[in-house]
């Protein structure tokens, strides 16, 4: 059962990821990104991260991809990009080599060190029928307990991001003093 879930979600993730890279239309790339994000959410559920799966669907697939689509439509760049022309001849083979190198190195590191890691923490409580919200409680104890300072700094980060974006995208109007 777990194997079937893994294979299906992995297929979603890989097809979506390849779609983002290979589709020449930006809207199609954004929709492929949604497929990948849902696959990752399924993986989160099968790894006992239920709250993060919900956040993944709501924040990533719900907010971030909608923001991408909104910007694509706003800028009017929703036309097919010509992927045949290459500005630099050697770039694509080099990029594929770099990508395969990254995958190969990380895979080698994972496979060689798969017996090294041992259980260290207190354990992640698997939700049961009698205790369905244990993951949320455990995660909230961590966020609002051990990492509460980081959580508060996060709010500063969000305010800075919002104010900065408003300043960046604002149209500069000539003031009446300058125009006189």
């Amino acid at each position: 059962m777990e194997l079937v879930v893994f294979v299906l979600a992995a297929a979603m993730i890989l097809v979506g990821g390849l779609g983002v890279v290979l589709r020449s239309h930006p809207v199609h790339a954004a929709l492929s990104l949604i497929l990948t994000l849902f696959g990752v959410a399924v993986m989160f559920v099968s790894q006992q991260a239920h709250f993060l799966a919900a956040v993944q669907v709501i924040v990533y697939a719900g907010a971030i991809v909608v923001l991408f689509l909104f910007v694509i439509m706003l800028l009017g760049v929703d036309r097919t990009e010509d992927l045949k022309t290459e500005p630099f001849k050697v770039q694509r083979p080099l990029a594929v080599i770099v990508g395969l190198g990254v995958v190969g190195l990380v895979t080698a590191a994972v496979v060689t060190s798969r017996d090294v890691v041992a259980t260290r923490g207190a354990g992640i409580i698997e939700p049961a029928m009698t205790d369905p919200d244990s993951n949320i409680r455990q995660l909230s104890r961590s966020v609002f307990g051990d990492y509460v300072v980081a959580f508060e700094v996060t709010s500063v980060l969000l305010v800075v991001a919002v104010v900065g974006t408003v300043l960046l995208t604002r149209k500069v109007k000539p003031t009446s003093k300058e125009s006189q």
Binding site: A29, M43, V77, E81
Partner: protein, 108 residues
């Protein structure tokens, strides 16, 4: 055959290798594509690969800290997308249809 399928339960290594492949796809996308929006989407792919790694290792190590880290990574990713798209919008307003080669110089 059914015994083989029953024996092959996905271990943490499977998840980590899958995350590595997804990260590689994102890397190739950033290096190959010319549209700044699609490059941004590829960065999101890489962030998701790292999130998957964190969650898989949180279960493997029995430590909820990995999931907490993913929570903060998501917040930072949301802020990053907002700022990045703001920059892209303000650039594209001046030069419609620009790709990253056209805007490689840091001046307007």
């Amino acid at each position: 055959m059914s015994a083989l399928i029953a024996a092959a339960t996905p271990t943490t290594t499977w998840y980590l290798v899958l995350a590595a492949v997804l990260f590689g796809i994102g890397t190739v996308g950033v290096l190959v594509r010319r549209n700044p929006l699609v490059m941004f989407m590829c960065i999101e792919l890489m962030l998701n690969a790292v999130n998957l790694t964190f969650v898989a290792l949180a279960k493997r190590l029995g430590d909820i800290g990995g999931q907490t880290t993913v929570f903060f990574v998501m917040v930072v990713a949301a802020a990053e997308v907002v700022v990045g798209l703001g920059i892209i919008v303000s650039i594209m307003r001046k030069r419609p249809g620009a790709n990253v080669d056209d805007i490689s110089a840091l001046k307007g």
